[in-house]
């Protein structure tokens, strides 16, 4: 019954920081699962531990108690099935678009020709063909984040984790990238299979997610887990859409 196993299991994850013997609880007993084909958004007020939780989920940080399993095994930071996209793009200014994307592959393929082929595929998938030899300084914010996404996709992850990837972009550019992430997610020929995204924008979560997990302010606790059953493509002006936004809003404030 390997197929029935969830992709990701977050089991009673808690996180505290200790300062001079005093405990600062950041996350309290977070528990949820994510299956293939899921698009899950984590929302909550600033400082409630969303980034910390995501870092724990991808294995970049360790929980104080509880555990994270990926396909039934404890998560490791070097798991090639899980990729991460950050808000701050994290590009190297002295490398071209193609070189920045290929960087994601150094650990995976020794052959530079192979790296180039794989990078090309994902540069194309995010609409960056034509900009291969451009440097980050020549790119708009939206284009920079496309580089970050292409780099994350090169490892062909099952799960793509994103931490407020659109929050530094203008509203128009952000909306365009949301649509493109949905296109990638729903394309069976391209990774990822599932997406877990952190956002502080309730509207963004309702636009994107099948399921929204709502966290309380610090320490982050799970307030609700909601199935957003709106058909796609979603219209942000639709009254039902706004019903969901209002409901989540009332849970947070």
């Amino acid at each position: 019954m390997g197929d029935a196993q969830p992709l990701l299991q977050v089991k009673d994850v808690s996180k505290s920081y200790f300062d001079q013997g005093k405990e600062f609880k950041i996350l309290d007993l977070i528990r949820f699962e994510l299956a293939e084909r899921d698009f899950v958004c984590l929302v909550g007020p600033s400082g409630c531990g969303k980034s910390t939780l995501l870092r724990i989920i991808v294995g970049l940080d360790t929980p104080t108690s509880g555990q994270v399993l990926f396909e039934g095994h404890p998560i490791r930071a070097d798991n090639p099935q899980v990729a991460m996209v950050f808000q701050s793009f994290a590009l190297f200014p002295w490398l071209t678009v193609a070189q920045n994307v290929e960087l994601g592959l150094e650990a995976l393929h020794e052959d530079p020709a192979k790296r180039r082929t794989v990078a090309k595929k994902f540069i194309d998938a995010v609409g960056l063909t034509g900009f291969e030899n451009a440097y980050p300084r020549e790119l708009s914010g939206g284009m920079k984040q496309r580089v970050g996404i292409a780099r994350a996709l090169t490892i062909e992850p099952l799960l793509l984790c994103m931490d407020e990837p659109f929050s530094s972009l203008d509203a128009l550019t952000a909306q365009n990238l949301r649509d493109e992430i949905l296109q990638l997610w729903s394309n069976p020929d391209l990774p990822p299979e599932a997406v877990l995204m952190v956002t502080h924008s309730i509207e963004e979560a309702v636009y994107l997610a099948d399921r929204v997990i709502v966290l309380s302010s610090r320490p982050g606790r799970m307030v609700a887990e909601l199935e957003i059953d709106l058909p796609r493509p979603r219209n942000r002006k639709d009254p039902e859409f706004y019903g969901w936004v209002d409901e989540i809003y009332s849970l947070i404030v």
């Binding site: 609409g127 034509g130 451009a134 509203a171 128009l172 550019t173 952000a174 365009n176 649509d179 002006k237």
Partner: protein
């Protein structure tokens, strides 16, 4: 070619975001409504609107912004198809035709200065830089040109589809 310089400071993503926002409020709205919807003041929205109109993606009449058939096609298209649609719109623009002609009659890649000079003769020196930048950005996006900012060389590329 004079309108084309306004596209230097606008990205494809912004134009698509604008078109989608107009579509969501029913396909037509005034600038103030759109400005509110997309959380962008009219000063910043202006160039994006001009560019969208220039590309034939919206019409502006009596203050009303209306999306076109072409916009609807663009909104439902995938990444590659979008590029193809934009390529069909822009490859006929005078700025692109000029560069294509220059490239064809030259056996070496075109230098930035050379192209800016040729553009200056058409649009005046104060706009030539913007037109050049628009040419590079939109040309790269539509896979019509290749530009190396280190060597400042521009070449015409044969697009894949």
């Amino acid at each position: 070619m004079t309108d084309f310089h306004s596209m230097a400071k606008v990205s494809v993503g912004q134009i698509l975001g604008l078109v989608e926002a107009v579509d969501e409020v029913g396909g037509v709205a005034d600038a103030a409504t759109i400005s509110r919807e997309v959380e962008m003041d009219v000063d910043r929205l202006g160039p994006i609107l001009v560019a969208a109109e220039f590309l034939g993606l919206v019409t502006v009449e009596d203050g009303d912004i209306r999306i076109t058939e072409l916009s609807r096609k663009l909104l439902t298209a995938g990444v590659r198809e979008r590029k193809r649609i934009v390529r069909e719109i822009i490859d006929d623009l005078p700025a692109f035709r000029l560069v294509m002609e220059m490239a064809r009659s030259s056996s070496t890649p075109l230098g930035r200065q050379e192209v800016v000079q040729a553009l200056s003769d058409r649009v005046g020196s104060h706009q030539a830089e913007d037109v050049f930048n628009a040419l590079v950005y939109w040309g790269r996006y539509a896979e019509l040109v290749r530009y190396d900012s280190e060597s400042e060389q521009l070449t015409v590329r044969v697009a894949q589809t």
